[in-house]
Amino acid sequence: MTLLHVENLHTHFISRDLDNEIQIARALNGVSFDIAPGEVLGLVGETGAGKSLTAYSVIGLLKPPARVVEGSITFDGSDLRGLDEEGLSKLRGSEIAMVVQNPRSSLDPLTRVGEQLIRVHMAHRRTTEEAARKRAIDMLAAVGIPAPEQRMRAWPHELSGGMAQRVLIAMALMNEPKMIIADEPTTGLDVTVQAQILDLLRELVESRNVAAMIITHDLGIVAHYCDRMAVMFAGRIVETGPVMDVFAKPAHPYTRTLIASTPERLREGKRAILGGGAPPNLFDLPPGCHYVERCEFADAGCRQTPPWETVGGGHYAMCARLAAVREAANE
């Protein structure tokens, strides 16, 4: 029983350049993943891999010239691509809530915090302002903000980054969502605060049985806070599986490189951040596997679209050379 089922999602940026030639940036090229109720999925990838874009494609908030050109998105049984803007906005902030980067600049600068919480609640529920106010105070308390009644009257610019993020989480919880999408929720926050926020998120999500998709480029976060993980590269999910399994036995060459370097980086006190190597050119992707230019195992067969292979229980990878990779790992 899945809550969110995304299959073969293609999102392109289509525009004409100054020479009147059509330019297509293929940002998502067949993204497929599932999230079960109450499950926490970590979506990892380099900058530009398409993680945030996946989230915004799911809730239908793409800015032109970005468009979903193919694929299906099913949430709790409903086909999201078939919904119009009005239908989608009923889901957003209610069944599917988002927590984003830059919490301070994501709050309306001219409205007090409490008012914004109430606003989100009353947009989706028939209730009185009294009841909404009470709920807002409860949520502020639940996210660990001291003196919540006073905080209701705060202006967004008066909050620290960590506080603002807690407010965003409180806002996400106002309407008892089935799923929270957290897009880089701790980037830009103080290191100590990061752990607090993630602990809070994890605890709330577990206690209320809310599903979550945490988008990040930090493998450490995935390791500590997620049940399952999906690794993205150049608009495709190249590996997915339970966090423990993927860390213990990474199957895809890309995942291997990243995870292999993680303990060393952690030992050196560096953060387990993904990166390195030239980002692929979305206007001109290689046919077949997109990782081909950086892969040490690539061969002629990689010019075809790689197949989904099963690696273990619930653990899959999109690669034609898994056997070779396994051999190299056993040496």
Binding site: I59, E85, S89, S106, A123
Partner: protein, 332 residues
């Protein structure tokens, strides 16, 4: 922001005064001749020469000049034979009447159009309003005035001839505010008020059109920036209805748009002067332009000074307004 502006105002003022001081010395002509005017007698010329210390070194001259200005003496107009200060002071409300009504009308038209263009970005309304706005930028102010007179006075006969603020056949009401319209209403003289109103319409429309162009352009730019901002994206991601999101955009656009209209007010005095000239409005603008054309340089100095001071005052008022409206301002 306010403190900074006030502190900077002082050297700015000195700079402006220095500029007006130097104005009559550009081009290497004899300043006394320019200031005294062609109707002056030899005695008067000598008097001016010693009064202003024009036989002394430049520094002393400037000191004397500053001293005079601070005492309220900006010189004497040889055309009106009165103190320039008096001439200008009594014309200020006349210009203000035209400027304020004009910009108000321009804003009433311009702001909604700019907002609509931003919301309907890249659609037909946007393109049309941008083109019309560009047209507004391209029409010379005086030509617009002449055009309006031609169409509405000569062709259609709807408007009175552009001969000042009130029909020549009607006695103006007693002066309270300086505005014939308001004074007429205050005095219960509806004939005068009516005439003043009909004389006001065309010049106000001209100023409105001129001011609307930049207002449309800037309002659109501000609104677009808001629409693309993080918090608007987040509001939509939170499922707030389109109405609400629009409301958020409007509210956040309020302060920057108001600030801009304030700057426009300051920048428009120049164009308003040309409208005054075409419609014989009798305000500071017409006075100043006449002074420039006919070489009444004491009056020119006063006019230039007035313009700079006016801009400064408007900027300060706008800053105060922003401080009141913006919760964030205190945090700066």
């Amino acid at each position: 922001m306010l403190m900074r502006r006030l502190v900077l105002a002082v050297p700015l003022l000195v700079g402006i005064l220095f500029f007006t001081f130097m104005l009559v010395r550009i081009g290497g002509q004899d300043p006394v001749g320019l200031l005294a005017g062609p109707t002056a007698t030899a005695e008067e010329v000598e008097m001016i020469r010693s009064d202003l210390g024009l036989d002394q070194p430049l520094f002393t001259q400037f000191a004397i000049y500053l001293g005079n200005v601070l005492q309220g003496d900006i010189g004497r107009s040889w055309i009106s034979n009165r103190s320039v200060l008096t001439d200008i002071a009594e014309r200020i409300p006349i210009t203000l009447e035209l400027l304020l009504w004009g910009v108000a009308l321009g804003a009433i038209i311009g702001v909604p159009v700019g907002l609509r263009a931003a919301f309907k970005h890249d659609r037909l309304f946007d393109h049309i309003s941008r083109s019309v706005s560009l047209l507004g930028f391209s029409i010379p102010t005086y030509f617009l005035g002449l055009l309006l007179l031609f169409v509405f006075f000569f062709l259609l006969g709807w408007a009175p001839p552009g001969l000042g603020r009130i029909s020549l056949l009607i006695t103006p009401p007693p002066t309270v505010t300086g505005s014939y319209l308001i004074d007429g209403l205050l005095a219960g003289d509806f004939e005068a008020a009516g005439s003043a109103l009909s004389q006001l319409i065309l010049p106000v429309v001209a100023v409105a059109i001129i001011s609307a162009a930049p207002i449309v352009k800037q309002t659109r730019a501000i609104a677009l920036e808001m629409i693309g901002s993080d918090f608007v994206r987040f509001a939509r991601a939170s499922g707030l209805p389109a109405e609400r999101v629009r409301h958020i955009v409007l509210k956040n656009s309020g302060t920057p748009v108001t600030t801009f209209i304030g700057t426009e007010l300051a920048g428009l005095v120049g164009s308003v002067s040309l409208i005054e000239y075409v419609f014989a409005w009798g305000g500071v603008g017409q006075y100043g332009l006449n002074a420039i054309i006919r070489g009444d340089f004491a009056a020119v100095q006063g006019y230039v000074m007035f313009l700079a001071l006016f801009s400064l005052v408007v900027f300060i008022i706008v800053d105060v307004l922003v401080m009141i409206l913006e919760p964030r301002a205190g945090a700066e």
